[in-house]
């Protein structure tokens, strides 16, 4: 590890911690109330969803429309696991998330292996179909509560966790927040490695990547699986935030919503996805006072961005704190330095 990378890791870690403590302070002052915490929790979940889809759509360069399917697989798995009460309390929550991620990843491999033989539009349609299949299966199984949905999932904030004397609501948010940071960092570090480079190479030119020794099938499936894994984790977090699951909320509108977030942020840009997830989750809430017009404004914002910045807010570039503070040109890591 060179001094430069150590510096950039440090500064990003510092930014995350500062952000967290500012939020904590605001919470203790009563400025960030339960309602705002709820929105911020949703933002964190949406960030994981957007960044994970960015791995497939941005890095691998394939449009996938079944992300809500992976999310629901993770959500139901985690919810059923905690309801079974194998591991009580917050330990069960983490185990449930991990299990949800793994189930989503396995479904990802099963779908990815045949589907990734196709490209572009064809893959988009296939993933869309798979997403719908997952939804229909969930609607028809008894263990998932069928069309009625799954009720009475224990919320994270009701699990009685109190970290370092913070109140329960904020502790729940803290867990979600740091899970989000870890997820984003891990996805980023995975993509800035030999594996990530192989995936980018496939996006750039799949004939040349093969000639450079990249096993295209393996890395395509890998990207797709990583994507599904983190979508599953986000799904599990969502289940334990909202407390009730219905298969209807994971239809293809949800997949499109996540895709819009990624495209708006800029395909291939991790920070873009983060910024765009924050903007698109908070925008409808900020516009609540204009009630009827808020969805109109939301749509207009999308249209304007696509007209004036078709490559998305960040293009393929990353926002870097290191570059901001270090002065020197430095293509280093950016770690979830999202600001509210």
């Amino acid at each position: 590890m060179t001094k430069k990378t150590a510096f950039s890791y440090g500064i990003n870690l510092l930014a995350v911690l500062i952000l967290f403590f500012v939020l904590l302070l605001l919470n203790q002052q009563g400025i960030v109330n339960k309602y705002v915490l709820g929105i911020m929790t949703l933002i964190c979940i949406n960030i994981i969803l957007a960044v994970s889809l960015n791995v497939t759509t941005g890095c691998l360069g394939q449009i996938a429309l079944g992300h809500a399917g992976f999310m629901s697989a993770g959500a139901y798995t985690a919810a059923i696991f905690t309801q079974a009460g194998v591991i009580p309390g917050v330990g069960g929550y983490f185990a449930g998330l991990l299990l949800g991620g793994l189930v989503a990843a396995i479904i990802g491999i099963i779908i990815g292996l045949p589907a990734l033989r196709l490209r572009g539009d064809y893959l988009a349609i296939i993933t869309l179909a798979f997403g719908e299949i997952i939804r229909v299966i969930i609607e028809n199984m008894t263990i998932t509560g069928g069309a009625q949905g799954l009720k009475g999932i224990k919320k994270l904030s009701a699990m009685g966790v109190s970290l370092f004397g913070m109140n329960e609501d904020f502790s729940a948010f803290a867990i979600v927040f740091f899970l989000m940071v870890i997820s984003v960092v891990v996805m980023y570090t995975m993509m800035v490695s030999r594996h990530g480079r192989a995936i980018l190479a496939i996006r750039e030119d799949d004939i040349a990547s093969e000639a450079a020794g990249v096993n295209n099938t393996y890395y395509r499936t890998l990207a797709f699986t990583i994507s599904a894994f983190f979508a599953g984790i986000a799904g599990g977090m969502y289940a334990h935030y909202i407390g009730i699951l219905g298969a209807k909320s994971f239809d293809f509108n949800k997949s499109i919503e996540i895709l819009i977030t990624v495209v708006l942020g800029g395909l291939g840009s991790f920070t873009g996805s983060v910024v765009s997830a924050i903007a698109l989750t908070s925008l409808p809430e900020l516009l609540r006072q204009f009630s009827d017009y808020r969805m109109l404004v939301y749509s207009i914002v999308l249209i304007l961005v696509m007209i004036f910045k078709p490559s998305g807010l960040m293009g393929t570039k990353e926002f870097s704190l290191t570059r901001l503070f270090g002065g020197r040109k430095n293509k280093s890591s950016q770690k979830g330095s999202d600001t509210q």
């Binding site: 590890m1 891990v186 570090t189 995975m190 800035v192 490695s193 030999r194 594996h195 990530g196 480079r197 192989a198 980018l200 190479a201 750039e204 030119d205 004939i207 040349a208 990547s209 093969e210 000639a211 450079a212 020794g213 990249v214 096993n215 295209n216 890998l222 393929t316 293509k331």
Partner: protein, 267 residues
């Protein structure tokens, strides 16, 4: 002169052929490449030269014949497996990873010699740093050979044409090949650039002790550096041997070189 008795041939194609439906694109293709040879593959447009490259690198699976690389059967293997066996190539129309940096282009190919797992990368464990550092210095060394070290941070797309060609060769070299296939490396180059390229190719062979097989239309380059020439026409080998014999072969003259000036001009 190149038929020295060297132990195992780097590449051996035995009656290799492929048909697309009823069309026999290449048939009965025999080739033996020994260690450290520099061989040219020439022929008129559409003769099947690039198809031969695609057969040798596993892009197409041959419908007939056998292929052996470094003594190991390579028949029906995928491209990436063949790269692992030691055959790297470049393309007729340059194929770079355009939006990646010059260094990353080479690092993609260095991946074969890097050993760390996904999890080690995700949590930035020591092996990640060690292997990345090793690969980076190897990639920079390669870039130096091609005088590309100053543009390591450039986006590959922004390189001038000649340097893009070189980068493609550098990327191929990063897979540690024992055989390098160059598909029209001098296409679109001016005479100075071609001269420079010839020097680079010679240097490659000496420095890395590899075998090179190249497709080229520029007869100055082919005659200047190749020790042996294969001539392809309508998917069949019509001649093979040392340059002087081949260019004076009447069949080659009618099929490719043309009668008067070309033959006399070259030497």
């Amino acid at each position: 002169m190149s038929e020295q008795t060297k132990n195992v041939p780097v590449l051996e194609a035995d009656h290799l052929g492929i048909s697309f439906g009823g069309l026999k694109a290449v048939s009965d293709f025999n080739m033996t490449l020994g260690k450290n040879e520099l061989v040219g593959l020439i022929g008129p447009n559409g003769a099947g030269k690039t198809t031969v490259f695609n057969l040798l690198t596993g892009v197409y699976a041959p419908t007939e014949g056998l292929l052996t690389i470094n003594g190991v059967p390579a028949h029906g293997k995928n491209t990436d497996q063949i790269v692992r066996m030691g055959v790297a190539r470049t393309f007729q129309n340059i194929r770079l990873f355009k939006n990646l940096t010059v260094l990353d282009n080479v690092l993609v190919a260095c991946s074969l010699s890097m050993h760390y797992s996904m999890l080690e990368a995700a949590f930035r464990l020591p092996r990640y740093w060690k292997e990345e550092k090793k690969a980076r210095s190897k990639a920079m060394e390669l870039l130096k050979v091609f005088h590309l070290e100053d543009c390591a941070d450039w986006k590959a797309d922004n390189l001038p044409y000649g340097k893009q060609r070189k980068l493609e060769i550098a990327r191929a070299m990063a897979t540690n090949p024992s055989l390098l296939l160059l598909d029209e490396p001098a296409a679109g180059m001016n005479p100075t650039e071609t001269q420079e390229l010839m020097d680079t190719i010679r240097l490659l062979r000496e420095k890395f002790d590899i075998t090179i097989l190249l497709i080229e239309h520029d007869m100055n380059l082919v005659l200047g550096i190749c020790e042996k020439i294969y001539v392809l026409d309508y998917g069949k080998l019509i001649a093979c041997g040392d340059p002087q014999t081949v260019i004076n072969d009447p069949k080659v003259i009618t099929a490719y070189l043309g009668a008067e000036e070309e033959g006399g001009e070259t030497k």
